[in-house]
């Protein structure tokens, strides 16, 4: 009986309606949090004693990097659910994730590189985090490439879903091997991206931005999910109502 929620989440009309009802809440919540976070990060937070105002890049870089990993994990979990229970809605969730994740991975790379110019004096440094981020971008591109190459939606869902699951198993291995590789070839950098201890005035805007990006992801996902569900449904009955509403 406690599993009824799970079964309802497998029903396209239910999820479609739910997504439509929830989208405004997430969207407005994300907008509000992002505005607060931006104001806090750009105005209220004091300049860093060593990096000056450059550290303010963290308020866009860290949330983007967080998004890149969170979206990939979401995609892989949804794909696994879709593969195991043959749940069409779960595959639609996974399909909705890729573009969002890839674009924020790109943002994390660009902002990280801009930060790198100030910290290292070069546009690209083989820093383990940036390197892992770059590989994550390649994983996203592979996923999107495989999906695009298969015409039949169901087969594309299942093949790319399997790739996402294989990828998520590999992400930690890749990350640790890159960290290990980096530790061999250069002295540990004193200036790490992000610092373990931050005064609350700096930390709070960061947390608000992280929450805002997470809500933004939810809102984007729900909008895309509706589109992906429509693309996967062939029976007319509920679609007609959904389109008229």
């Amino acid at each position: 009986m406690s599993w009824t929620w799970f079964h309802r989440l497998g029903s396209p009309p239910y999820v479609y309606g739910l997504a439509r009802r929830l989208t405004p809440w997430f969207a407005w919540g994300a907008g509000l949090l992002l505005l607060c976070g931006l104001y806090g990060g750009l105005v209220l937070a004091p300049p860093d004693y060593r990096q000056g105002n450059d550290f303010r890049i963290i308020y866009v870089h860290a949330p983007s990097a967080w998004m890149s990993l969170m979206v990939y994990t979401t995609m892989a979990v949804a794909a696994a659910v879709g593969l195991i229970w043959r749940m069409k809605v779960a595959h639609a969730v996974a399909a909705s994730c890729a573009t969002i994740g890839a674009s924020f991975t790109f943002a994390a790379l660009v902002t990280g590189s801009l930060w790198g110019v100030r910290m290292w004096g070069t546009w690209w440094e083989w820093d383990p985090r940036l390197t892992s981020e770059l590989i994550l971008l390649f994983l996203y591109l592979g996923y999107m490439g495989l999906r695009a190459a298969i015409e039949d939606t169901q087969r594309a869902d299942r093949a790319s879903g399997l790739l996402a699951v294989v990828g998520v198993v590999n992400v930690p291995i890749i990350h640790y091997s890159v960290v290990w590789w980096n530790s061999l070839h250069q002295a540990p950098s004193v200036m790490r991206l992000g610092k373990p201890t931050m005064p609350p005035a700096m930390l709070l805007p960061l947390l608000i931005m992280l929450a805002g990006f997470t809500l933004l992801f939810a809102a984007l996902l729900l909008v895309r999910l509706r589109g992906e569900i429509l693309n996967r449904e062939r029976t007319a009955a509920w679609i007609r109502e959904a389109l008229e509403a």
Partner: protein, 208 residues
């Protein structure tokens, strides 16, 4: 008592095409069902769905009353599927092909292999590379696989294609023997099968 093989309301979509629209049938031991229908009506799709390669969007396949998805490997051990083209490697001889193909499924002594090839009239060219064989000769190698494997369910896609009159008669004889053993045959194709008519039913698939 449940039917030996039963398909219930199979629905299958390929991209935007509704290929199988609620197909169902039941077969008992010793029966042959011939699938008919125009090109593109879904005969091959249905065969592939029945053997578990395709996952229907709705509907079930039951073997002796149980859903085949519950233990697919056990179900597969009881069937043989032969598609449009026999799965033969051009670089291997007919004998080698048969040995590797059947050997993966069950241990077959070499004399049995040779006897099966002789049965289908392949003894004279069984050591030639399949590359040099005609389409009809390749078909006959596939028939040898049928003669060798004692499995209850045969799924045959156009079993008589490319065969001469003698070969078509051979297909009929093999099917008759299979039915007499209490086996089941599901065959797609238009050609009349030369088997005892009473045991053959046919199912017409409408063009989607």
């Amino acid at each position: 008592m449940p039917h030996a093989l039963e398909a219930e309301n199979l629905q299958l979509w390929r991209a935007e095409r509704h290929v199988l629209r609620g197909v169902g049938f039941a077969l008992d031991a010793g029966e042959c069902l011939q699938l008919r229908g125009a090109n593109g009506a879904g005969k091959t799709t249905l065969l592939r769905a029945v053997c578990g390669l395709l996952y229907p969007d709705a509907g079930r396949i039951l073997w002796e009353g149980g859903d085949v998805r519950a233990d697919l490997a056990a179900y597969h051990a009881r069937l043989i599927y032969i598609g449009h083209e026999p799965p033969l490697k051009p670089d291997l001889s007919a004998l080698e092909n048969l040995r590797f193909w059947i050997g993966v499924r069950q241990a077959v002594p070499r004399p049995a292999l040779e006897a099966a090839l002789e049965r289908v009239g392949a003894d004279r060219w069984s050591r030639r590379a399949v590359r040099t064989l005609s389409a009809g000769q390749r078909r006959r190698v596939a028939l040898a696989a049928l003669a060798l494997l004692a499995v209850p369910l045969w799924l045959l896609d156009e079993p008589t294609t490319n065969l001469d009159a003698d070969g078509q008669q051979l297909v009929g004889t093999l099917i008759d023997e299979q039915l007499a053993r209490g086996g089941l045959v599901l065959a797609a194709g238009h050609h009349a099968l030369r088997v005892a008519a009473a045991r053959v039913r046919s199912l017409e698939l409408p063009l989607g």
